[in-house]
Structures are given as structure tokens and as C-alpha cells.
Amino acid sequence: MDPLLFDAIAAIAKILFVWAVVLAALLPNLVLLERRGAALIQDRPGPNRVGPFGLFQALADVVKMFMKEDMVPIYADRLLYNLAPLIMMIPALTTFAVIPFGSQIPLTIGGVTHTIPLIIADVNVGILYVFALTSLGVYGIVLAGWSSNDKFSLMGGIRSSAQIISYELAMGIAATGVFLAAGSLRLPAVVEYQQTHLWNCIPQLLGCIIFVVSAFAETNRLPFDLAEAEAELVAGFHTEYSAFKFGMFFMGEYANLVAASALIVTLYFGGWSLPGLALTGLWGGIASIGIFAVKTFCFIWLFIWVRWTLPRFRYDQLMALGWKAFLPLSLLNLLWTGWLVLAGGGKF
């Protein structure tokens, strides 16, 4: 087969695989898991009526969103109002392109063995691409808040943008430590580095904590969900949204959650690798996908667990934590990692 054609087919297959797992299998059931998890923590049954254990609840919700009325408020800016959910959703879905979700799979077709690396696009800018797309998602929130022409929406949008840019700084600088150790911005290189060295979460514990907490702020999850803050802002930036446009914000938020978990696993917890396992060949490749999925799932559960356990921050506390604590600490983590690499005698 023509290698170019093969690459194209492999790329499409990988995109479809990732989206099938994330969109079709994970997202709807994640909402159910969140609600059942909340019920577990709050000692109540949760949604358990639709199908066995409430498993069809997600399906029912999606159908409901399609059947609801899609309306645009009269005072809203029509173009931006319609565009905002798309700006939120599309970057959230394309973040997965640079995250390696497994080692590689050898495939023999017509006597020729092709090796398919399990990553959609192995670009040399790697993490910069992720940060660029996360920043684009902010526009979705701000435009939604502004274009709705509603006081609650505007407040939620502005709050959220200030929060996300504040924590993006600490997050970016904390991640720099990882790239300093790996010597590359490519995420597969980070995983390779962690195969031969300690996982980054051990020497860079400080950076890891900063990154994880900032990820909570970036995805607008409790204890940092001041963009919504239903007690004061009704529903925050999506107060005026209904039907599937609301559904897109909802799905975008969960897609961001999955992407953030996958990113934490890749940067700090060895990605698809396990210490002492070679993971070669067809079965090794499949096993690596499984390992990656289990690790990612642990962090998704952490997000849910924290959301239903901690109370919400006050806005001044949120800003103080981001600027006064995380920013200097992330720079400290960077210097510490640099010192470790130079003085560690080749161990780091």
C-alpha cells in the first residue's frame, strides 16, 4: 500500500478511535458517574431510574437536549451568541491530538510491517499546542458571557477569564520543569524520559501539585467554579443558553476535564508506561492503551471527588492563591528541577 495513503487511513482511524472513546463512551457516562459519585458522597441514591443503575440516564439527557427549544434572547448579539459554544467545544475536542494514548502497534499488511505510533499528531510544539487551545477555550466563555447581554452572564464570563489566565501562568511554568527534564516539548519524549527515569511526580512534586490544582481552576471545576457559582450568578456565563447550545458548554467542560486528566498522567505519572514493563508488539500496544485509560480514569475520579467534597473559594482567595503562591512556587520548582538536572549526576 502507498505509505502516504496508509498514514492518512491510520490518522483517521486514530481520530475516530479517540473520539469514540472520549465522546461516545466516556462523556455521557462521565456525567452519570459524576451524579452517582455525588450521590455516593452525599449519601443519597442519585439518578437510578432510567435503565439498570441509571445507565441510560445519559442517553435520555442527550435526547432531551435535542428536543428542547433552541432560542436566542432578543437583546443578544446573534453571531457571537451562536459562535461561543462552538469556540468552547471545538478546541476541547482537538486537544487530544498531541497526547500519546499508548506506545505503538505493529500492523502487517501484504508482508510489510507498519508501526503505528498511538498519537494522532506527533508535532514538535507539543505542549504549546495544548496551551494555545486551552487559551482559545477562554474566548468561548468570555464571548458567551458578553453576547448574552445579561448581567449574570457577563459577570461569570469576566470572572472566568481572569481566573483562567491567572492559573494558566502557574500551569505553564510548572509544566516547563517537565520539559526541562525531558529536553523536548513533544509529549511522547516526556513519556520516554519517564520510562528511563523516575516519574516526574516524584522529583517535581511541587510542580505536580501546582499543575493539578491549576487544572481544576482551568476547567472551572469546584473549588474554583466561580464562573458559574450558582448561589450568586444563577448559572454564570451560560445563564441565557438553552437546549444543545447549553449541552455544548456542558460537553466541552467534560472534554476539558478528560483532556486535563490525560495531560496530568502524561506529564507527571509516566503516561502509558509502567516501570519495568517493556510493552512492545501488538499486545503490548493494546496493554499500554489500557494502562493509560486506567491512570486517566483515576484523575477523572479525583476531579469528581474533590468537586463534591470541598466548598467554593472566595474570589479574592482564588486570586491570592494564583498570584501570591502558585506563581513564585512554580518558578521555584523550575529552578529546583534545573539544579537537580545539573547536580543530580545524570540520575535526573
Partner: protein
């Protein structure tokens, strides 16, 4: 793969995502109910009639945060290339960054003392 070819799958992904997202919105517009009333289309105001304009002035604090973000983000942009080639540079490179971060820290301390990080 450092060439632009490596970005083709991303372009493909963006196109598919955009097409699917727009298709879903259109489907919703087709399937959804259409009962429009003036009350329903008005902005949400906790049940009260709309009293004044919604786009009011925003606290200056948010603008200060935006300015500080620009300053520190530019500095973060300097850190990335430094981090990638750090292993080739060794101690001299470490010293340079300590100097750079030292100057940056002076600015940070100044901002802190001026109260730019306080939300009160």
C-alpha cells in the same frame, strides 16, 4: 516529524469537529420546540422586568489582572526555549536564568508591595 505535514491530522480533526458541531446545532434547531414569547426571549433578571442596561462598567481589578498576565506570559514564553535546550547549556545557562528570574522577582515584589495582587 518537525515539518508542517505533522499538523495535517490536527487540521483534519478541526474540520471534522467543526462539521459535527454545526450539524448537531442544526439538528437541534430542526427537532426542538418553537414556541416563542416575548417574556421567554427577554434576558434573565430573576423574574423582574429589565430595569437598566446589562453591559455595565467592570471593576478595574480585572484589567490589572489582564495586564499582569501579559507581562508574566511574555516571560513564560522566554522560559520555554531555555528549558528545551537546558541540558546542552549546563551551569552557565542555569546562572543566566537565575539572573533573569532575579530581575523578574524584583518586579514581582514591587507589584506585590503596590497591592496589585490584593483583591480588596
Amino acid at each position: 516529524m518537525g515539518t508542517s505535514e505533522a499538523f495535517l491530522p490536527i487540521l483534519l480533526m478541526l474540520v471534522i469537529a467543526a462539521v459535527v458541531a454545526v450539524a448537531l446545532l442544526l439538528l437541534n434547531a430542526l427537532l426542538g420546540r418553537k414556541v416563542r414569547t416575548k417574556r421567554k426571549l427577554g434576558p434573565y433578571e430573576s423574574g423582574l422586568p429589565l430595569l437598566d442596561v446589562s453591559r455595565k462598567r467592570i471593576s478595574v481589578k480585572f484589567f490589572i489582572v489582564a495586564m499582569m498576565f501579559i507581562i508574566f506570559d511574555v516571560e513564560a514564553a522566554f522560559l520555554y526555549p531555555w528549558a528545551v535546550v537546558f541540558r546542552k547549556g549546563g551551569w552557565p545557562m542555569f546562572g543566566e536564568m537565575v539572573l533573569f528570574l532575579g530581575v523578574l522577582f524584583l518586579g514581582f515584589a514591587y507589584l506585590w508591595k503596590k497591592g496589585a495582587f490584593d483583591w480588596e
